[in-house]
Symmetry: C2
Subunit: 167 residues, 2 copies
């Protein structure tokens, strides 16, 4: 691979200017590339889901609601944990989603502290349309890799995620 990416140049600059400081090229490159890929993915999701009139964090919240053992329904706390936002942040998101008519909140009858969030018909519809667009973007990116490479990449990434989840 003769071509260099941003990360190669970043690491090379480091090497030439700061040789005295301990620094593992491969580790820095890994971390940098993951960060830059995530930035790219976020921006493509943003523009993709904007086409159906929804924002990335709204899409993500609806997505989290649908992709669970009880599809379309969850507690605010569950959603907050899965999405890595605070409870306060989730209240804010749900306020917006509820006002837009994409979810509705009701108090659980057997424990009135609990809130049950449910997706509405309109919420499910817009989520499906946003997901199709987002999926197309991601497949375009993934098409750079062949099937074997995708599996291989997932295998290596999973080694890392497993460690982060169990430590």
């Amino acid at each position: 691979m003769a071509e260099t990416d941003w990360t190669d140049r970043h690491v090379a600059r480091w090497r030439s200017h700061w040789v005295d400081i301990h620094f593992d090229d491969e580790v820095e490159a890994l971390v940098t590339r993951i960060g830059r890929l995530q930035r790219f993915l976020k921006s493509t999701v943003q523009t993709a889901v904007a086409e159906v009139g929804i924002q990335d964090f709204e899409y993500e919240t609806l997505h989290s609601l649908m992709i669970r053992d009880t599809p379309g329904t969850a507690s605010p706390t569950d959603l907050a944990e899965d999405l890595g936002v605070s409870g306060a942040g989730m209240t804010g998101r749900l306020d917006g989603l509820e006002k837009a008519g994409w979810v509705q909140r009701t108090h659980s009858p057997d424990d009135r502290r609990r809130v049950v969030v449910e997706i509405t018909r309109e919420g499910a519809d817009i989520w499906r349309r946003a997901m199709a667009l987002r999926g197309a973007q991601e497949e375009e990116l993934a098409s750079v890799l062949n099937d074997r490479e995708r599996v291989q990449l997932n295998r290596l990434l999973k080694k890392l995620t497993l460690w982060t989840e169990t430590r």
Copy 2:
């Protein structure tokens, strides 16, 4: 690999509930794992650099200042582009860094529209200490992979980043 990570369970839930919708398991897994790894990395950087009394975005800005062809000096626009923040956001970051005494801004003498950002002695010191802590965290994560796997993972990630940077 018998153990499942969060992403495996996420994809499996999808499979069992929404089989009718087009959906590539490997692609969804890739995107999900990259997102979750970035989330993890962000949180470890946050706690690591907090030990020297600095925030992640401050550390990143100093880091970007140091890792360039002209170490320790740059324009706000260059920094904003490298870091993926808006010009307005960079002005805000530099306000904070300048107030803390970690950078200083001067007008370029030959083009007075331009601002030259320079790191101070204190800025460079705190960056070095933050970097050591951050690096230790990242190496701990990377130690899950052996040398061959790190190279392999970087090779696959680079295929993706190259595409995102040139399309």
